[in-house]
């Protein structure tokens, strides 16, 4: 029969989960039988932030040594620790001194992945050299940006291993030596995975998410786990139970969210590329805020196995890069069917790399004939004027490239936001039921079952998560289901149809990625509705399950400095290839902008 459900050959899949393999992992932890997760030793991120506050403290030396002794000469390290204070001043100065949109003529984004691959294979530079560059930058910027919840201690060892393989002429994979940061709601067996929640503090998964497994198979080095709004619920990364991540462009601003840590890490070049997750815009909005490329693939393109579920029918693992090519190459290595995710697509995946040709080979009007639809509802009231002008700039650039641009109306656009919040909350209220403190996570011991549940959940979840669980529980309750959940599903169908119609007559649709650029930390923290409203540009795409690419296209003034603005291109389902092609050409031909944040700009100018 034509196999609508997975025709799981039972014997065949026996090997896939290996139920016996993971208890072994926990056997090493002697005392805590209940949570069975070994305590994390002094978290790296905590050390890094301590360095910022207290750079000269002698206390620092010990953790520094401890953490990095296996990594490099402790003396060099000590130097870094001592130096961090003056560096801090230096950066702070450079941030305020940065002029608006500094024109750096020669700095078109290049694919760092391709550069690394070329250099290490030609032995021009070692993996270790690249890795040290990134680690040094990470060490210097992390106290300010705080994008990581955990930094791997084995990064340099892994780099050396790749160098050894190259020496032995062994195959190293397309992402060899590429430092990838992974959002902390994506499971990694060798690192904690907290999803930004106190409830999962010290939780170590028994398995790697499929995306992570594929990354490792491609030779990538997982540099660490990035900060996020708890369980991906938020748009600023302030909702993390652990720390607030800053926007590398202005440390007083939010990086966006919920994948704020992953976006900031790429923006500050703490890693080459990173994985995020996008349920309602959580990759695209922070990409816009941090001036990096964010790619939300089609629903089903990337396996969700190992992604801590927020809203299962909307969740997608997405990619961040400092160039379209990097985001595309990252997607290339993680996408494809996975028999562990019944919603992952069996569709063939094309080779994206052919799209990333050098601009020297572009024709004069490389996008001639491309039909671009500007979603008219996204440039009206409620959208920051400077954002609108940036988008208009991008539109005229697309026209210069040969596109025929027309306005297209999606009347259902404004319905998407409430429908999204009903559906996402409903699904999350169910998905988060498993955090009951019984099998893992922090348990609040009680004599009575209901207070064990109540206590563990009240103690473990933050306010935004509780709010969404309550909303979702309400929406699914008997008597309200039809008015909320069912109605929202109807809206979802309408949204899907209107996108389908618009994409029948256009190759891509464009809109801003967010109604504004990054705002100040704390600005919307106590106004959830204002924060939800910021998702207006992105949620519809999740409802329709379509792929979208956000790339930086301009700046808005932020006092004397500037903040990046991104625009969103939406494509037809499973047509990531077209988005990447258009995005690459757009990026490689956009003159007069550099999207390297001032925090680290000096290094890149020199």
């Amino acid at each position: 029969m034509p196999d609508p459900f997975h025709d799981k050959e039972e014997e065949d899949t026996l090997s896939s989960c290996k139920p016996l393999s993971f208890p072994v992992k926990y056997r090493t932890s002697s005392p805590p039988p209940r949570h069975a997760t070994p305590r994390r030793s002094a978290p790296t991120a905590a050390w890094l932030s301590a360095a910022a506050e207290n750079p000269n403290s002698e206390i620092l030396i010990t953790p520094c040594k401890k953490m990095l002794s296996s990594v490099q000469n402790p003396r060099i390290l000590l130097l870094h620790c001592r130096r961090s204070k003056p560096l801090h001043h230096h950066y702070a100065k450079s941030i305020h001194a940065t002029p608006l949109a500094r024109p750096i003529s020669a700095s078109l984004p290049t694919s760092q992945i391709q550069t690394i691959q070329k250099s290490i294979l030609s032995r021009e530079k070692t993996t270790r050299q690249f890795t040290e560059e990134f680690l040094n930058r990470l060490r210097l910027t992390e106290p300010h940006v705080k994008s990581f919840l955990h930094v791997s201690e084995t990064v340099l060892n892994e780099a050396d291993e790749i160098d050894r393989k190259i020496d032995r002429n062994e195959d190293v994979g397309p992402l060899a030596g590429v430092l990838v940061a992974v959002k902390d709601n994506i499971c990694t067996a060798d690192m904690p995975s907290t999803a930004g929640s106190k409830l999962l503090e010290n939780y170590r998964p028994a398995f790697d998410a499929t995306a992570v497994k594929k990354l490792k198979e491609s030779g990538a080095i997982i540099v660490g786990k990035t900060n996020l709004d708890e369980f991906g619920m938020g748009s600023t990364t302030e909702g993390s139970a652990y720390q607030v991540t800053a926007n590398p462009w202005n440390l007083e601003c939010v990086p966006g969210g919920s994948s704020g840590g992953s976006a900031a890490a790429v923006s500050a070049r703490q890693c080459v590329v990173s994985l995020g997750s996008d349920t309602g815009g959580s990759v695209r909005q922070p990409a816009s805020f941090c001036g990096v490329v964010g790619l939300k693939p089609t629903y089903g393109r990337v396996s969700r196995y190992g992604l801590v579920a927020y809203a299962s029918s909307l969740d997608v693992i997405g990619c961040f890069g400092s160039s379209v090519a990097d985001a595309g190459l990252l997607l290339q290595s993680i996408c494809g069917h996975d028999k562990l995710d019944a919603t992952s697509s069996k569709r063939e995946v094309n080779d994206f790399t052919s799209q990333f040709i050098s601009k020297d080979y572009f024709e004069s009007q490389p996008l001639k004939g491309l039909r671009v639809g500007v979603i008219s509802e996204t440039l009206g009231d409620g959208v920051d004027q400077e954002v609108v002008s940036s988008i208009r700039g991008a539109i005229s650039h697309l026209e210069d490239l040969g596109c025929s641009v027309t306005e297209v109306s999606l009347p259902s656009f404004s319905l998407g936001l409430p429908a999204y919040y009903v559906l996402a909350s409903s699904e999350s209220s169910s998905n988060l039921s498993r955090y009951d403190g019984v099998r893992y996570g922090n348990q609040i011991v009680s004599d009575e079952l209901s207070s064990l549940y109540g206590g563990s959940r009240a103690n473990g979840f933050g306010p935004e998560v509780k709010r969404r669980i309550l909303m979702g529980t309400y929406a699914l309750s008997a008597g309200y289901y039809d008015a909320y959940y069912k109605r929202a599903q109807q809206v979802r169908t309408v949204v899907q149809k209107s996108f389908k119609a618009a994409l029948d007559s256009h190759d891509i649709l464009i809109s801003p990625a967010a109604p504004s650029a990054a705002y100040k930390i704390g600005e919307k923290k106590n106004d959830p509705l204002a924060m939800y409203a910021g998702d207006i540009m992105t949620v519809n795409v999740n409802l329709a399950g379509l792929p979208a690419l956000v790339l930086p296209c301009g700046f808005v003034k932020d006092g004397t400095a500037s903040l990046p603005v991104g625009f969103q291109m939406i494509g037809a389902a499973f047509d990531e290839e077209k988005l990447l092609r258009v995005g690459h050409i757009f990026e490689q031909t956009l003159q007069g902008y550099s999207f390297i944040p001032p925090l680290i700009a000096d290094e890149f100018i020199s």
Binding site: L14, P19, P23, L340, S426, R434, R439, S446, E448, L452
Partner: protein, 545 residues
């Protein structure tokens, strides 16, 4: 229930071997205790049950003059698939706690279910066997509630579009209960996953969770409220057990919990259209318990109505207590539980094609009802029919035997007589005895052809069941061929008559009953090999000569 003292619920899925010595010790203790409890229950129950049996039967009989009982049954059948419903864990009943688990069935963060297609196959088979209408497009839903044995906080089930609906099952009631044919409606059949198990400690200071059973596929079968007596209900459940065993989708074992029945009982005065308040009964571990529990419940409710205490019949869940032969309140329902069902977003819809369904329909085995009708047409009595069709293995044995033997009744008698008795004594199933259907037909043929006598046949049968071998081999080995040569029989008879002159005199003096004595002596002399017909014929001639 014992949920008030949860000083820390603990799962130990991750430490099955290491420091969990105390836990393991405890678990063993637990299971020992439960076996003890079971056996003590059994011994207890036997004595009083004879007494209560008659009393209850009388009480129910009396009640049913004024009241009509309405009985509906929800049955959970555990499917015997190689792996669980949504992950690739194997499940074996009685395994070490938390040894058949993986991230998926433990509900770890990030784990996702993937449907085992065998579950669909089993559901379609049962749906067809129960004459249901199949939903060509159905889906899974989440049924949400918190309980420590439910790792995800929701059960993957089917809510508004079950895979099969609107069927029926045909039942022949046992003769000792009056016999008769009944048809009971099936409301729906749907697929879902099982939950784990809680092990409560002796001192109740904490409980442990065993997730081995979590995620094991179940089919829930909901009947129409068509049953009227405990016997009908028990027979419905027994037929369902036969059907799942015939189909091979489940072992249907009630003791292991592979077949679990929850019964809803209400009564109403005869003639009244409106239903009475229904009560759910759980913990029914055998068909007879089901029948007894229902009869008890009917009598209990009637008693309350008779006393005018109508309001004391409340919607509740009651437990059947085998020891006291009573139902007792487990929990009262305060309104309907809100399970907040919604479509399972992690699983695609289940879409069946005509071709798939037809293939399954064509490969269905002969079902118990069809088998019974066929046996009936073959001329067997209802008693024989019910016996032979009850157990699929016995039925298959019988069918294989009669494939080569023309005397069906004889084959049935052998199976129901000597073979059944032997199986019962040795506690063996028909597939475990050494006798093959082919040898049974050979044996029957040998008796019919006169090669051996029936008596010898019985001896050989015992030998065959115990040690195996062939009929021919045994006959030759033991020189058991029947003596059919009249001359040889005559010789033996002459010898016997010569040796018993006194008896001969008495016989000829009118005591003709002594013919039996002579026949016995002849058989003894021939070591049972003489053909009895010939012996009688020649003996009579000689005696009366």
């Amino acid at each position: 229930m014992a949920l008030t003292l949860f000083r820390g619920i603990q799962t130990r899925p991750l430490l099955p071997y290491s420091s969990a010595f105390s836990a393991r010790k405890h678990v063993i203790f637990c299971s020992m205790q439960s076996t003890q409890a079971e056996t003590s229950m059994k011994t207890k129950q036997q004595a009083p049950s004879n007494f209560t049996e008659t009393a209850r039967a009388k009480a129910v009989e009396k009640v049913l003059k004024d009241y009509e009982a309405i009985i509906g049954i929800e049955t959970h059948v555990q499917l015997s698939t190689t792996t669980k419903a949504f992950c690739s864990c194997a499940y074996n009943y009685g395994s070490q706690p938390n040894s058949c688990v993986c991230p998926v069935c433990m509900g770890l963060p990030g784990a996702l279910p993937v449907l085992n297609s065998k579950v669909i196959k089993c559901a379609v088979m049962l749906g067809l066997a129960l004459n249901c209408k199949l939903s060509m497009t159905s889906k899974f839903d989440r049924k949400q509630y918190f309980y420590p044995d439910l790792p995800k906080g929701y059960q993957i089930s089917q809510f508004d579009i079950p895979i099969a609906t609107n069927g029926y099952i045909d039942v022949d009631l046992p003769l000792e209960f009056g016999g008769g044919h009944r048809r009971f409606g099936i409301t729906r059949v749907h697929m879902e996953e099982d939950a784990g198990k809680l092990l409560h400690t002796g001192n109740r200071s904490y409980s442990q969770v065993d997730l081995n059973r979590a995620g094991v596929p179940l089919l829930e079968i909901v009947s129409e409220p068509d049953m009227r007596t405990g016997i009908e209900a028990a027979e419905y459940a027994a037929e369902l057990q036969r059907v799942v065993r015939y189909l091979g989708v489940s072992n249907g074992n009630m003791q292991e919990g592979s077949l679990r029945c929850d019964v809803n009982v209400s009564i109403r005065p005869i003639g009244q259209e409106q239903f009475g308040t229904k009560v759910e009964i759980k913990n029914l571990n055998s068909f007879s318990a089901m029948s007894r529990a229902i009869d008890f419940e009917i009598a209990r409710q009637a008693e309350l109505y008779n006393q005018g205490k109508d309001d004391e019949v409340v919607q509740e869940t009651r437990l059947w207590e085998e020891g006291s032969q009573k139902t007792v309140t487990m929990r009262k329902k305060e309104g309907l539980a809100d399970y907040r069902y919604f479509p399972e977003p992690d699983l695609p819809e289940v879409i069946l094609t005509e071709e798939y369904v037809n293939d399954i329909r064509d490969s269905l085995p002969e079902l118990p009802e069809m088998k019974r009708r066929r046996y009936e047409e073959m001329g067997l009595t209802m008693q024989d029919v019910l016996f032979l069709a009850n157990d699929v293995q016995v039925a298959e044995f019988f069918d294989a035997t009669i494939a080569k033997v023309s005397d069906i009744k004889l084959a049935a008698n052998w199976i129901m007589g000597d073979i059944a008795a032997y199986m019962k004594n040795e506690k063996l199933s028909i597939n475990e005895i050494k006798l093959s259907p082919e040898e049974l037909s050979e044996l029957i043929a040998s008796i019919k052809s006169g090669t051996i006598s029936g008596k010898i046949g019985k001896e050989i049968l015992l030998e065959l069941m115990k040690k195996g071998g062939t009929v021919k081999g045994l006959i030759e080995e033991k020189d058991l061929v029947q003596i059919v040569d009249p001359a040889e029989i005559e010789k033996i008879i002459d010898k016997v008559i010569a040796n018993n002159p006194k008896q001969l005199e008495q016989y000829r003096g009118g005591k003709t009953k002594l013919q039996g004595f002579f026949a016995g002596q002849v058989m003894k002399e021939s070591k049972g090999k003489a053909n009895p017909g010939l012996v009688n014929k020649i003996l009579l001639e000689k005696l009366n000569a």
